[in-house]
Symmetry: C2
Subunit: 178 residues, 2 copies
DNA sequence: TCAAACTTTCAGAACGTTTTGAATGTAGAG
DNA sequence: CTCTACATTCAAAACGTTCTGAAAGTTTGA
């Protein structure tokens, strides 16, 4: 194989490893995904372990995680016992999977916790000393800033997730912060 | 202080710690920021170390990082030797700082690497075997998917960064992917 | 059902990151 | 200028995460 092709392959794989860490995954996952993405043919566990010089054990566990995230698919070959993998090459599908589960969970949880806090502050108000009441008011201000932030995040997520095949921003008309 | 106020404070601080990890910072940074955000008065290094039960050394280093990210500001008190800190409470300012440096750098770097790869593939084409030429074509397809993704990310970043005080999505009119 | 070929699991090792606390540096009061 | 109260640094320790490889489990073809 021409050295330039090898280099391009390697730098793409490395870049996806970097990207994976940036997104809060580990870089082996990113490199596995990259290797599959840059391979015209499905690859077996052994192919991946040999190609990236990591143990089969690690490949097995990380590939399972990749599958859970919808970033790789299995691919059976008739008359072969091996399990072959292919990358999910529709990037937008991958993005939507990740945003739709992990990120969304975080945002929903945060909004829940903040909402609970507001509840508690309002319910407790009548039994507070004057000094505590001032502090409670201060807390409410700060919490409302945080709520505003997460609400925008939620809207943005909903917009991206609402688009069905290619991502477009038409649906986002106006999100304003008071 | 009323127990509900303490609880609200603690869960907010913990939540910001969680958020920080989610965003690729460490959770001490998040908790420090949270503690400052939920304090009506500026806090000293000792206040923070005692409040969060972590060493002064750690507070010192993490606060410096927070300052570098524009998430906290120093605040001198006349006739005091202590250094006091306040949270930057404008969340949108914080978001813009982070997006504008770290995330932007990643996106720009990725686009650069991908662009270089396209260059190399095109330049090398004439000296490739037929088989390699097919592979190069395949690489170009995949790389162009990645480029599309990062280009959308770049546009989205520019939009958010372009808005000056409150974040609004008016400016995003239409981003389409081919 | 068996044996071979492959995958998964998991305890321990390796590795990287974060924290601590003592040593060092620094700025302001007198 | 010196002394003191503070902040900062950094080597070593603690901690958490990821990897390895051998053992156990599973699937498939015969």
């Amino acid at each position: 194989m021409h050295p330039d092709l090898t280099d391009v392959n390697e730098s793409t794989v490395a870049g996806l490893g970097r990207l994976a860490r940036f997104f809060g995954f580990n870089d082996v996952m990113g490199r596995l995904y990259g290797t599959l993405l840059m391979s015209p043919d499905p690859l077996s566990l052994d192919d991946l372990a040999n190609g990236l010089k990591i143990s089969k054990g690690s490949v097995s566990m990380n590939m399972r995680t990749l599958e859970q995230w919808g970033m790789a698919k299995e691919h059976w070959v008739r008359g072969e016992r091996k399990k072959y993998y292919m990358a999910e090459s529709d990037m937008w599908q991958v993005i939507r999977n990740v945003l739709g589960s992990r990120e969304r969970r975080e945002v929903v949880l945060a909004l829940q916790v903040l909402g609970d806090s507001v509840e508690r502050l309002k319910t407790a108000e009548h039994e507070l000393t004057a000094e505590d009441r001032a502090l409670a008011a201060y807390y409410l201000e700060r919490i409302s800033d945080l709520q505003a932030f997460f609400q925008v995040a939620e809207m943005a997520l909903n917009t991206v997730l609402g688009s069905d095949n290619s991502l477009d921003f038409d649906a986002v008309t106006k999100i304003e912060i008071t």
